[in-house]
C-alpha cells in the first residue's frame, strides 16, 4: 500500500502538473505532492524496519533495508528541494528568465524525475532498473536546458549524448547478465529478478559476469560521474536551474551508485574474487584525486560544487569497492550526509547567485553583509562538506579512512592529499564570497532558508550522535551488500 503511494503520488503529480504547472499554486502543489511521497516513504520505512524485507506484486518490487534507506533519503531531499524551488522558481519567473510554459515543464518533470528514481530503487527487475535510469536521464535533459541559453543547450546535449552512450553500455551489461542468468534460471521473466539472481549468484558463469560488470560499471558509472566519464556532470549542474543541480547531486548520483552496488553483490558472488571491488576502488580513487585537483581551477560556483560531488561520489565508490562492514557502513553514511549537505549548499548557492545576478565566484562578494542567513548557510555547508569535525561528513570520512588504513594502506596518502587539496580550494573560494564587501541586490521573493538549515542540522546531528536504530539500519544494509 505505502509502496503504491510512493510510486503513484509522484507519477500522478507529474501528470497533474503537466496541466497546471504554470498556475499560481503550482509550486505549492509540487511541494504538497512531494510531502505526500515523503509520508508514504516514511510509512514504508517503518514497515520495513519492523517486518523485514518485502517482495510484492508477483515479485515486481523488492524492498530491503538497503533500498528503503535510499527511498527515504530520496523522498526527503525531493521534498526539501521542492520547498526551496518555490521562491527560487518564482524569482526566476519574476526576472523573466522563465516563461509559464517552461515553468509547467519544470514542475511536471520534477515529479516525473522523483518517480523514475523511486522506481529505479524499488524495482526487483534489473532490466526495469535500467529503463528507469534511462527515463531519469530523459526527464532531466529538458530541465538542464530550461533557460535555452547557448551554454545550457550545450550542457544538455552533452548530458544526453554522454549519458545515452553510457547507459547503452549498461544495457549491454544487463544483456550479458541475463545471458548468464538464463543458463541457471531458464528463460523468461524470473531470470532478471534480483532476488532470484541473488539466490543463484554462485552458479552464474564467472567470465560472463566479469565482462557484464565492466559494462555495468562503465555505464552506470557515467551517471555516477566517475572520472574519466564525468564530463557531463559539471556542465549539467552549472547550466540547469539550481533545484535541479541539487537533486542531480543529492539523488541521481546516489541512485546510479546504488545500481552499481547491486551489480557488485551479484558479481562478487559469482566470481568469488575481489575483481569488482578492485575496479570500483580504482575508478573511485581516480575520481577523488582528479576532481580534487580540478576544484581550484573553477570560476563558476555551481561548477565548483559539481566537482566536489564527483570527489565525494569517488569516495563512496571507493568505500563500497573496499567492502567489509566498516567501509560499507562508512559508504552508506557518507551517501546520506553528502546528499543532505550538498543539496543544502546548492540551496544557499542558488539564492546567493540570484542575489548577485551571477554564478561567477569573483563577482559574488559579502554575502554575510547582504543576507547573513544565506552567507552563514553557505559557510557552514562548505565547512560541513569539507569534513570539519562536528559534522557527519567528518564521521563518515574518518571511518572510511580508518577502514582504508586497515585494508588498503597504499590508498590512504592519496585520499588524504586529495581531501587536503579540496579543503584548500573550496575554503579559499568560499571565504571571500561570504566575508568580502557586499555587492548583492534585494530579491523579489523571500528566499527559502529553512531547508538549508534543516539539512545542515541533520548532518550536524549525525556527526555528533547516530541514533541506534539508524546505526542498526546501516549495519543491516551493510550486511546485505557485504
Amino acid at each position: 500500500m505505502e509502496l503504491l503511494l510512493v510510486l503513484g503520488v509522484p507519477f500522478a503529480g507529474g501528470i497533474v502538473l503537466a496541466f497546471w504547472g504554470h498556475r499560481r499554486f503550482a509550486p505549492e502543489l509540487n511541494s504538497g505532492m512531494s510531502l505526500l511521497t515523503l509520508l508514504a516513504a516514511a510509512g514504508l520505512t517503518t514497515r520495513i524496519i519492523a517486518d523485514g524485507p518485502i517482495l510484492v506484486w508477483n515479485e515486481t518490487f523488492f524492498v530491503d533495508s538497503f533500498n528503503v534507506f535510499l527511498v527515504a533519503l530520496t523522498a526527503f531531499v525531493a521534498f526539501t528541494t521542492s520547498l526551496f524551488s518555490r521562491p527560487y522558481m518564482r524569482i526566476e519567473a519574476h526576472t523573466g528568465r522563465l516563461s509559464p510554459d517552461r515553468l509547467r515543464l519544470y514542475h511536471s518533470m520534477f515529479q516525473m524525475f522523483s518517480f523514475t528514481m523511486l522506481l529505479a530503487l524499488l524495482t526487483n527487475n534489473v532490466g526495469i532498473l535500467w529503463v528507469a535510469m534511462e527515463a531519469a536521464t530523459l526527464t532531466t535533459v529538458l530541465l538542464v536546458s530550461l533557460y535555452r541559453t547557448p551554454a545550457s543547450l550545450e550542457a544538455a546535449w552533452k548530458y544526453f549524448i554522454l549519458c545515452g552512450v553510457g547507459i547503452a553500455q549498461a544495457l549491454f551489461g544487463t544483456i550479458l547478465l541475463y545471458f548468464a542468468a538464463e543458463k541457471v534460471l531458464g528463460s523468461g521473466g524470473t531470470a532478471l529478478l534480483w532476488t532470484h539472481l541473488n539466490e543463484v549468484k554462485g552458479a552464474l558463469e564467472p567470465t560472463v559476469l566479469g565482462l557484464a560488470f565492466v559494462f555495468l560499471l562503465v555505464g552506470y558509472g557515467t551517471k555516477v560521474g566517475l572520472v574519466p566519464l564525468h564530463n557531463w556532470l559539471p556542465d549539467a549542474h552549472a547550466e540547469g536551474p539550481t533545484p535541479i543541480s541539487a537533486v542531480l547531486s543529492g539523488l541521481l548520483l546516489n541512485v546510479a551508485l546504488y545500481a552499481v552496488v547491486r551489480a557488485k553483490v551479484l558479481v562478487d558472488g559469482a566470481l568469488g574474487t575481489h575483481f569488482a571491488g578492485n575496479l570500483m576502488m580504482g575508478f573511485g580513487l581516480l575520481s577523488v584525486v582528479v576532481a580534487a585537483f580540478l576544484l581550484s581551477r573553477q570560476k563558476d560556483i555551481k561548477r565548483l560544487f559539481a566537482y566536489s560531488s564527483i570527489e565525494h561520489m569517488g569516495l563512496m565508490t571507493f568505500a563500497f569497492g573496499m567492502g567489509g562492514a566498516l567501509a560499507t557502513f562508512a559508504g552508506l553514511l557518507h551517501m546520506t550526509v553528502h546528499s543532505l549537505t550538498k543539496s543544502a549548499i546548492f540551496f544557499a548557492v542558488g539564492h546567493a547567485a540570484q542575489k548577485s545576478g551571477t554564478q561567477i565566484m569573483a563577482d559574488i562578494r559579502g554575502l554575510i553583509e547582504s543576507n547573513p542567513t544565506i552567507g552563514w548557510g553557505l559557510m557552514i555547508g562548505s565547512l560541513a562538506i569539507l569534513g570539519m569535525p562536528p559534522f557527519g561528513v567528518f564521521t563518515s570520512e574518518f571511518m572510511l579512512l580508518t577502514a582504508a588504513m586497515h585494508q588498503q594502506p597504499w590508498a590512504t596518502p592519496f585520499l588524504l592529499a586529495a581531501l587536503g587539496v579540496a579543503f584548500a580550494a573550496i575554503f579559499g573560494k568560499v571565504q571571500p564570497m561570504v566575508f568580502g564587501t557586499a555587492t548583492a541586490k534585494r530579491l523579489p521573493h523571500p528566499p527559502a532558508l529553512i531547508p538549508v538549515f534543516a539539512h545542515l542540522a541533520i548532518v550536524l546531528l549525525l556527526g555528533l550522535y547516530i541514533p541506534p536504530y539508524l546505526a542498526g539500519w546501516y549495519r543491516q544494509a551493510a550486511a546485505l551488500i557485504g
Binding site: I128, L153, E154, F172, I175, L192, V208
Partner: protein, 220 residues
C-alpha cells in the same frame, strides 16, 4: 558444412547488418543515412522473425513486430519530418576522412569478434555465431557517433547502437523479457522525441545543427 536453412538465413541477415553498419559509417548524406537506418531495422526485424520461427519463441514475434513498427516506420518517419522541417539535407561532414574511418572500423570488428568469442562458446542458442557481429555493430555505431559533426547523424548513430544492442540480446539469449523490451522501446521513443525538440532549440539558438557550436564549455 550443412546448416539448416533457418540458421543460414540468420547468418545472412547478420552479415547484412554488418554491411549496413559499414554503409552507415561511410554515408555522407543524411537522407540516405535515415534510409539505411530504416533498412537496418527491417533486416533486424526479419532476422528476429526467423529466430522466432525456428525456435518457437512466441514472444520474439512480438519483438520483431515492435522493431518493425518502431524502427522501420515510426522513427524514420519522425526523422524524415524533422530534417524536412529543419531543412538539413546537406552532406555530412566527418571529423576523420572516410577511408581512415573504414580502417578503424575494421579494427573494431576484429576486436568485437575477440570480445564475443568466449561468450558465444558457452551460448546455447542457434544464433551464437552472430554475437560477434552484434558487438561489432554496437562498436561501429559508437564510432559513427564520435566521428560525426551534425546532431542528426549523432542521433542516428545512437539509434543504430540500440539496434546493435537489440541484436545482441536476440542472438545471445533469444531476447530480454517482454516487459523490459517494452520499457526500452518506450525510452527510445521518448528519447527520439526529446532529440527532436532539442534540434529546434539548438537551431533557434545557433542557426545551425553543427555541433561544433557546442564546444564552448571547456575547462578553463
Amino acid at each position: 558444412m550443412n546448416l539448416p536453412l533457418s540458421s543460414q538465413l540468420i547468418n545472412l541477415f547478420a552479415a547484412l547488418l554488418l554491411l549496413l553498419a559499414f554503409a552507415m559509417l561511410t554515408q555522407r548524406r543524411i537522407l540516405s543515412l535515415i534510409n539505411l537506418f530504416a533498412l537496418q531495422g527491417f533486416v533486424l526485424a526479419l532476422s528476429t522473425g526467423v529466430v522466432a520461427y525456428s525456435t518457437q519463441q512466441t514472444h520474439l514475434y512480438y519483438s520483431a513486430l515492435l522493431t518493425l513498427i518502431l524502427k522501420v516506420l515510426l522513427l524514420p518517419w519522425i526523422l524524415h519530418r524533422l530534417i524536412r522541417a529543419l531543412n538539413v539535407r546537406w552532406d555530412v561532414e566527418t571529423l576523420i576522412d572516410i577511408p581512415a574511418t573504414m580502417l578503424i572500423g575494421i579494427v573494431l570488428v576484429i576486436f568485437a569478434f575477440n570480445l564475443a568469442a568466449p561468450i558465444s562458446q558457452i551460448a546455447g542458442t542457434i544464433t551464437k555465431s552472430t554475437l560477434g557481429i552484434a558487438t561489432a555493430c554496437i562498436l561501429l555505431s559508437f564510432l559513427m557517433m564520435i566521428t560525426r559533426r551534425k546532431a542528426v547523424s549523432q542521433v542516428i548513430g545512437f539509434l543504430a547502437m540500440e539496434n546493435g544492442l537489440f541484436f545482441a540480446a536476440t542472438s545471445a539469449t533469444y531476447g530480454m523479457p517482454m516487459v523490459v523490451e517494452l520499457g526500452i522501446a518506450l525510452d527510445v521513443l521518448v528519447g527520439t522525441f526529446i532529440f527532436g525538440v532539442f534540434f529546434f532549440h539548438i537551431r533557434e539558438t545557433f542557426e545551425s545543427l553543427d555541433i561544433h557550436h557546442l564546444e564552448k564549455l571547456k575547462e578553463h
